[in-house]
C-alpha cells in the first residue's frame, strides 16, 4: 500500500470508528448505568438514517433535516424510556433481550410500512461536496472529514458533560449506587431518562450524518449494533472513554481488515476483541 492509500484508509478508519463511537457511547452508558442490554440500540441508528432521508426529501437540505431530526430523536428516546425501558431496569437480562429484540422487529416493520424497503441515497450537502486531491488519481471527500470533526466535537462535549457538569457527576454517581443518589434528594429516574434520551439521540444523529456516505437501507442498524456491543465489551462496560478508544480500534480493524485480508475481513474485528479480552477480561477501561 502506498502512502496516499494508507492515508485514505486511515482517515476512513478514524471516521468509521468515530461514528461507531456515537452509537456505542450511548449503549455503554445505558448498559453501565441502568443495567439494560438494549438490542434495539442499532435501530436508533437506522431510524436516524431514515429520518435524514425522509426529512431531506421534504426540506431538500440535510441541515434542516438535522435541526428537525435531533429533537425528534430525543423525544423518541424520552418516550421509550418512560413507556418501556424504565420497567426493564430491574428485570433479568433474558427479559431485556426479549423486549428489545422485539423492538427491532417493530421498528423495522414500521420503517417498512412508512418508507418501504428500497435502498435510498441522501445527497451530500452542497458546501461539503468537494474532494481534496491527494495524488493524480486519488482524492478524499470533504464530507467525511466533516463527519470526523463533528464526532470529535461531540466526544469533547460528552466528556465535558460527564466530567465537568453536575448532571455528569450524578450520572457517574448513579453508575455506582442508585439508592445513595436518591438519598441525596436526586430523582434517579430523571437521570435515567436524560441518559437514555441522550443515547438514542447520539445513535440517531450518527445515522443521520452517515446517511450521505453509507446510503440508507433496511436492517442497516444490525451491523452497527453488533460492532457497538463489541466496542462496549472491549472498552469496559459503562466507560465512555473505553468506548472511544475501542471504537477507534474497531474502526481500524474493520477498515484495514477489508483492505489487507479481504477474504477474512469479517473476522478481524472479533480477533481483536478476543485479543483484548485475553489481555484485559473486563475491557480496556473498567469503569
Amino acid at each position: 500500500m502506498d502512502f496516499v492509500s494508507f492515508l485514505i484508509q486511515t482517515l476512513n478508519a478514524v471516521q468509521y470508528g468515530l461514528l461507531l463511537f456515537l452509537v456505542a457511547s450511548g449503549l455503554t452508558l445505558i448498559f453501565g448505568i441502568m443495567g439494560v442490554i438494549n438490542l434495539a440500540h442499532g435501530s436508533f441508528y437506522m431510524i436516524g438514517a431514515y429520518l435524514a432521508f425522509a426529512l431531506v426529501a421534504q426540506t431538500g437540505n440535510l441541515f434542516t433535516a438535522l435541526l428537525l431530526g435531533i429533537p425528534l430523536a430525543a423525544l423518541l428516546g424520552a418516550l421509550l424510556e418512560w413507556a418501556l425501558f424504565r420497567h426493564l431496569y430491574k428485570r433479568n437480562h433474558l427479559e431485556q433481550v426479549l423486549l428489545t429484540y422485539g423492538l427491532i422487529l417493530v421498528f423495522e416493520e414500521l420503517r417498512s410500512l412508512a418508507l418501504g424497503d428500497d435502498v435510498h441515497g441522501v445527497a451530500v450537502p452542497a458546501i461539503f461536496s468537494a474532494s481534496i486531491k491527494l495524488s493524480d488519481t486519488l482524492s478524499y471527500p470533504v464530507y467525511r472529514l466533516v463527519i470526523s470533526a463533528v464526532c470529535v466535537l461531540l466526544a469533547i462535549g460528552l466528556y465535558i458533560l460527564i466530567h465537568r457538569t453536575r448532571i455528569g457527576m450524578m450520572i457517574r454517581a448513579g453508575n455506582h449506587d442508585r439508592d445513595m443518589v436518591e438519598a441525596l434528594g436526586i430523582d434517579i429516574n430523571r437521570i435515567y431518562l436524560v441518559v437514555f434520551a441522550l443515547g438514542v439521540t447520539l445513535a440517531a444523529f450518527a445515522g443521520m450524518i452517515a446517511a450521505p456516505v453509507s446510503s440508507v437501507f433496511p436492517g442497516m442498524g444490525n451491523q452497527v449494533l453488533i460492532l457497538s456491543f463489541v466496542i462496549v465489551v472491549i472498552g469496559g462496560i459503562g466507560s465512555v472513554w473505553g468506548a472511544l478508544v475501542a471504537a477507534l480500534v474497531i474502526g481500524f480493524a474493520d477498515t484495514f481488515g477489508k483492505v489487507l485480508v479481504p477474504d477474512y475481513a469479517g473476522l478481524a474485528v472479533y480477533l481483536v476483541m478476543a485479543a483484548v479480552l485475553l489481555w484485559r477480561p473486563e475491557g480496556i477501561f473498567k469503569s
Partner: protein, 237 residues
Amino acid sequence: MSDWLLEAQGLQSFYGSSHILHGVDFRVGRGETVALMGRNGMGKTTLLKSVIGLVTPRGGRVAFAGGEVTGQPTHRIVRRGIAYVPEGRGIFPNLSVSENLRMAARPGPGGRRDWDFERVLATFPRLSERLDHGGGQLSGGEQQMLTIGRALMTNPDLLILDEATEGLAPIIAREIWGIVREIKSSGIATVIVDKNHHALTALCDRAVVLVKGQVVFEGACAALKAQPEIIQRHLGV
C-alpha cells in the same frame, strides 16, 4: 398536626417474606439528638431506611415536618430536609472528594443555605487537602467525614447517622463525636446509631431501643444512664 419533626407510626417492614419491623413508632423533635440502639440485626438500619423510603413499609405512616410522606419516593422525602449517612458510608469512589460534595449541594427547607462548600471544608480541614482525590482513595475516617460533609451540603433539618464510627480508630472516632456535637449545637436534629453506648448516651437527648423489630425502651438518655440494667439486658453482648 404534631410538633414532632419526624413522626413514624406503626411501621411494618419486610424483606421479601421476612417480617423485620413489627409496628415501630419512632419520633424525633426539632433539634433533638436521638440515639437508636439495639444489638446487631434488630432492625435499626431497616427502620432508618423505612423512614426515608429506601425500604417501603407495608404498614404504618411517616410524617416529616408536618407533611405526610408515606410511600413517596426517597428523593422527595429527603428533600423536605433529611440527610442520610448510611452504614458503610456510601461515598461515590468514582467521584473526586470535591465532586462528592458538590453534587449534593442544595438549599435546605425554606431556602436555608447555612452549609456550603466552604463551610464544610472549614469543618473538615482534612478534606480540603484531598479535594482532587477519588472518594475511594480516602481512609475510613476521611470517608466518614466526607459522607457527613456531603450530608450537610443538603442543609438538612434532620441528619441520620447509621453506625457513625464503625470501623474507625479510636482517635478518629473521637474526632467524629466532636463533629456530631458541633452539628447538634448548630440546631440540626440527629438520629445516631453506634456501638459505643457510652459516647452515644453522653450526647443524646432521647434513646430508643429496638429488639427484634419492636421498641422495648423509649425515654430520656438520662433515664437510660440511670438504669444500666436496661443497657445490660437489651444491648449487652
